[in-house]
């Protein structure tokens, strides 16, 4: 029993999800409310279960996974983001026809997959975690099966995701073939042994990173992101932009700094390219968007680019900045998506056109203010809190001697600021009347308020605590 204690959070979620699946099978759609609230309770319980052994037990099961502070940090974000995605869906799907209990169950499985991803220290567990998340995601993307766009999103995600998984697996097999091990420490040792890396190892590394780049939706493997984000039901998009993304970025961090640590010269150039390309493309491509979900998709590509700058910096400081970045990013993104969820037309139907926000600041000042806070924060404009994680990744880059990268990245923030400003301009400067109507959603309102306060200048009060946590988490993978 004691040996299972370190994976208590995963156990809670797995068992809970299986039970809920049974409940769903026997009660049908009637119990969707019950299942979603129990799922939220399970996720919160899993967060509390992280205290103690699950965050400091070290390597488990012969080095398949590690229960450390790094994983715990990621799991808290993943679980809470998943819980928000469930709460958000509660008022969104048409009750009784669409909102079946399976939705919460799938999100629970996806959360378990994410938890495995962030604590995997073996290529095999890494792959299993990744696939568990991905498979749940494919289904979730096409959740509104009557809706053409949703079905298209699911299919597109599946086909491209399967391709990426193939690439990843190929990379894993090459690494296994050339190092003789799947465990991260073994791979690191193999890389450390050779001063010039063999072609086989380099190929394995490149394919592995390409597969992961797809999952974090970094350029040039980002093509699926706008389409899937647009087509998937909005609560699902909110999930995609948060939990699996955090899991994938943290997984990339652990793989690069732990398994591929000695090969930093080999992967750094790849990560730098992906980072700059993501920042630039995410910023430029978002300019002409008319759909808010597509815009946020490019925003997420853009933001992943900044997180990757922290990764390129490497070392404990770089890892810590990535963790800090992702924590704040999730709050901003979820806040923005919760606002999008509340964009409803006259008959309560969801509206996604950016134009519909026109003049919103007059009709609904609080809503517009919250959205503006998220936009300015995503753009990284001080005094909003979104500025600080950007500063941390740039600091890590300058500290690692990558001044040119920091300069290029920071110029990217100016390019990106343009489209975030556009949303603010549409809400505040344009005069037309917004077609959006008010919907009653007290829980979401509370969540938006909490997120807006967290990224407001009040967030700076959290710097000390969050910084300590991310430092400790980053320290645990070295």
């Amino acid at each position: 029993m004691n040996r299972l204690m370190p994976i208590l959070p995963e156990l809670i979620l797995t068992v809970g999800a299986l039970v809920l699946m049974m409940v769903a099978a026997f009660t049908g759609r009637r119990a969707s409310g019950l299942t979603s609230w129990s799922a939220v309770a399970l996720l919160v319980a899993a967060c509390f279960a992280l205290i103690g052994a699950p965050s400091n037990a070290g390597p488990l099961f012969g080095g398949l996974i590690a229960a450390d502070a790094f994983g715990a940090f990621g799991k808290v974000i993943i679980f809470l983001a998943s819980a928000v995605a469930i709460v958000a869906a509660h008022g969104w799907f048409e009750r009784g026809t669409e909102h079946a209990s399976e939705y919460s169950v799938l999100i629970l499985f996806s959360a378990v997959g994410g938890a495995v991803m962030v604590s995997a220290t073996n290529l095999m567990t890494l792959y299993i975690g990744l696939e568990l998340t991905s498979l749940s995601s494919y289904v979730l993307a096409s959740y509104r099966r009557g809706d053409e766009r949703s079905a298209e999103a699911g299919l597109k995600y599946f086909v491209l995701g399967a391709l990426a998984s193939g690439i990843l697996l190929y990379g894993i097999s090459l690494l296994y073939g050339f190092t003789g091990t799947m465990a991260f420490p073994g791979i690191a040792a193999a890389f450390a042994r050779e001063t010039t890396h063999s072609i086989g190892l380099l190929f394995g590394l490149v394919f592995l990173l390409a597969g992961i780049a797809f999952k974090v939706s970094a350029v040039p493997f980002h093509m699926w992101t706008p389409d899937v984000y647009e087509g998937a039901p909005t609560p699902v998009t909110a999930l995609f932009a948060s939990a699996p993304k955090v899991a994938a970025v943290l997984l990339a961090t652990r793989v690069c700094l732990d398994a591929l640590g000695p090969a930093i010269d080999a992967w750094r150039q790849i990560v730098i390219f992906a980072a700059l390309a993501s920042i630039l493309l995410g910023a430029v491509a978002a300019w002409g968007q008319t759909n808010i979900k597509r815009l946020l998709a490019y925003s997420s590509i853009n933001n992943v680019g900044f997180a990757l700058i922290g990764l390129a910096a490497g070392g404990a400081k770089g890892a810590s900045s990535v963790l800090f970045y992702m924590a704040v990013y999730v709050v901003m993104t979820l806040g923005a998506f919760l606002c999008v969820l509340r964009m409803r037309g006259k008959d309560g139907e969801p509206v996604e056109a950016i134009d519909s926000l026109t003049g919103l600041s007059q009709a609904r000042p609080a809503f517009a203010a919250a959205m503006a806070i998220f936009m300015f924060s995503l753009a990284g404009v001080p005094p909003l809190f979104g500025f600080w994680p950007k500063l941390l990744v740039f600091r890590a880059a300058v500290d690692a001697g990558l001044v040119a990268l920091a300069v290029a990245g920071i110029l990217g923030t100016v390019v990106g600021a343009y489209y975030y400003l556009r949303i603010v301009k549409i809400m505040y400067f344009d005069e037309a009347k917004s077609p959006l109507v008010r919907v009653r959603a007290p829980v979401e309102r509370f969540l938006i308020l909490a997120a807006a306060l967290a990224v407001s200048p009040l967030g700076y009060l959290l710097i000390g605590e969050l910084g300590r946590l991310s430092d400790r988490a980053a320290g645990s993978i070295f």
């Binding site: 600041s361 007059q362 000042p365 300015f376 404009v381 001080p382 005094p383 500025f387 600080w388 500063l391 740039f394 600091r395 300058v398 500290d399 001044v403 920091a406 300069v407 920071i410 110029l411 923030t413 100016v414 600021a417 343009y418 400003l421 603010v424 301009k425 505040y428 400067f429 200048p457 700076y460 009060l461 710097i463 000390g464 605590e465 969050l466 910084g467 300590r468």
Partner: protein, 509 residues
């Protein structure tokens, strides 16, 4: 400092009060928001006066110091020296006037407007009071958001373009400074501005750091050729927005040079003196010529701002007391005078709703009070002795001449050109015949407008007649700065060179 005064976190209160009031404004009616804003800015001004009295010019360099660690390498560290003090006073003095200027002119979305102005005030005070590098940056950049909203929501017909230009231009300039700051913090292991002011960076690094800071301050000040956002922003902003933009926001650039570029990178500054003098010379002459041909009153004053800021950079990079003190006085004087000139434009704009110079003329007949005050501010802008403009420009020119004759010659032509465009503007608006019936029907200044302009007029004359009041608090700090930059002072070309007399040829034979 006496114990009781230094116990209170005076600067935090100064910043926190408008911040809280700004949030409160969002939830009240239009007239309540107006009164809240006015009362709070006046209370802040009173607090500032108390700060001014409590400040001891002969005391410690940094006074009213506060420091609370936030963890993660940033501190809520505040403190002021004389230079920061006078700029904070300028801010506090202009704010109630801005609120008063918007009393009638702003009719839509008043609570948000007042909230944006109060937020702006808090951030501007923060910029001058911050003693932590990152805290400074947060305040410095944070000001973009309220100003963006002020221009974009309450501005003129081209407001959207102007607001974008303002935001993106300034942001682009500032982000390079952030990288330089990161480098400095990693190099010097401290974010404390006072500590960095005495840290010696390697001369080679100073060069790059100086250029990165220039990118930010040159846009903010603005210097030629990155001044093009300013005319647009001024023309489109509401009157009070222009006042605060010209009065305080531009001063952040000059403050940046005096607080960061000079003391932190003395060698870097010295290396780029020719560049700064060239840009300032072009700014003074070129933008004066551009101002001469403007048909829009606000645009003319905006270009004159760029020209005046040229005197600031001339003075600052002269590396001597006259130059730096002169630059400070030009900044203060310009803050008052250009603010007042924008208010004067606002006065007639509120009546006739046009800023076209040709639509006016002969206003001294029907608006004698207006013509009187407008003349005073015109003269102050030209630099007539007895007004604040003279003191600043004279000192700054003396300082410049001590370093470079050529720079001083170019700068002095700016005074002549300045007189040309300002006097011509005044002539076209106030003198001549009343050509237009609608302009002739305009009533003279109302009591509210007198209340806005008279205090500025008093301050302008005070500074012109007895500048000692404003020089005293900064004297010791300029002295410290001079000690710091002495080792890098560039060679002068205008001082007589002492040599031994040549012996006559005949005697040699």
């Amino acid at each position: 400092m006496v114990g009781a005064v230094s116990e209170l976190p005076a600067l935090s209160i100064l910043i926190g009060l408008p911040l809280v009031a700004g949030l409160a404004c969002l939830f009240v009616s239009a007239s309540a928001a107006r009164w809240t804003a006015l009362v709070v800015t006046l209370i802040d001004l009173a607090l500032g006066a108390w700060l001014w009295i409590g400040y001891d010019p002969a005391g410690a360099q940094w006074q009213f110091v506060e420091r609370v660690g936030l963890g993660g390498g940033i501190n809520w560290a505040l403190g002021i020296d004389g230079i920061a003090l006078v700029l904070i006073m300028l801010t506090l003095f202009l704010m109630p006037i801005c609120i008063g200027a918007s009393w009638r002119a702003i009719e839509k979305r008043v609570p948000e407007y007042m909230s944006a102005f109060l937020l702006m005030e808090a951030l501007m005070i923060g910029v001058f009071a911050a003693q932590d590098l990152f805290l400074f940056y947060i305040f410095f950049e944070g000001g973009l958001i309220p100003m963006y909203l002020i221009i974009g929501i309450w501005g003129g017909p081209e407001r959207i373009k102007a607001s974008y230009k303002f935001f993106l231009y300034t942001l682009l300039g500032s982000v390079l400074m952030l990288i330089a700051m990161l480098y400095m913090v990693i190099e010097a292991h401290t974010t404390s501005i006072p500590a960095l002011m005495s840290y010696d960076f390697a001369p080679d690094a100073q060069k790059w750091l100086w250029l990165a800071f220039l990118a930010s301050f040159a846009v903010k000040l603005p210097m030629w050729p990155v001044h093009t956002w300013l005319p647009d922003a001024h023309v489109e902003a509401p009157t009070a927005g222009s006042v605060i933009l010209a009065g305080v926001l531009l001063k952040m650039g000059g403050y940046g040079f005096i607080r960061f570029s000079l003391p932190m990178f003395p060698e870097g500054s010295a290396m780029f003196v020719p560049l700064v003098f060239t840009l300032s010379g072009i700014a003074v002459v070129y933008t004066s010529l551009v101002a001469l041909v403007q048909r829009d009153m606000k645009k003319l004053i905006a270009y004159s701002s760029v020209a005046h800021m040229g005197f600031v950079t001339f003075g600052l990079f002269a590396f001597n007391r006259q130059g730096i003190e002169g630059a400070m006085i030009v900044m203060l004087s310009h803050g008052l005078v250009s603010g007042a000139l924008f208010l004067c434009v606002g006065v007639v704009y509120d009546r006739l709703h046009t800023r076209e110079i040709d639509r006016y003329g002969g206003l001294s007949d029907n608006m004698p009070g207006y013509a009187l005050l407008f003349m005073l501010f015109t003269m102050a802008s030209v630099g007539l002795p007895g007004t604040s403009g003279f003191v600043g420009e004279f000192l700054s020119l003396v300082g410049t001449y001590r370093v470079s004759t050529w720079a001083a010659i170019v700068a002095t032509t700016g005074i002549i050109l300045g007189a040309a465009y300002m006097l011509w503007l005044y002539w076209r608006i106030c003198f001549g015949t009343l050509r237009h019936a609608d302009a002739a029907a305009m009533p003279d200044l109302s009591a509210r407008e007198w209340w806005l302009l008279a205090p500025i007029a008093a301050a302008v004359l005070w500074m012109g007649v007895y500048p000692e009041s404003f020089l005293r608090p900064i004297r010791a700090d300029v002295g410290r700065l001079l000690v710091r930059i002495e080792r890098a002072t560039p060679k002068s070309d205008s001082l007589p060179i002492v040599r031994l007399p040549h012996a006559p040829r005949a005697a040699q034979r």
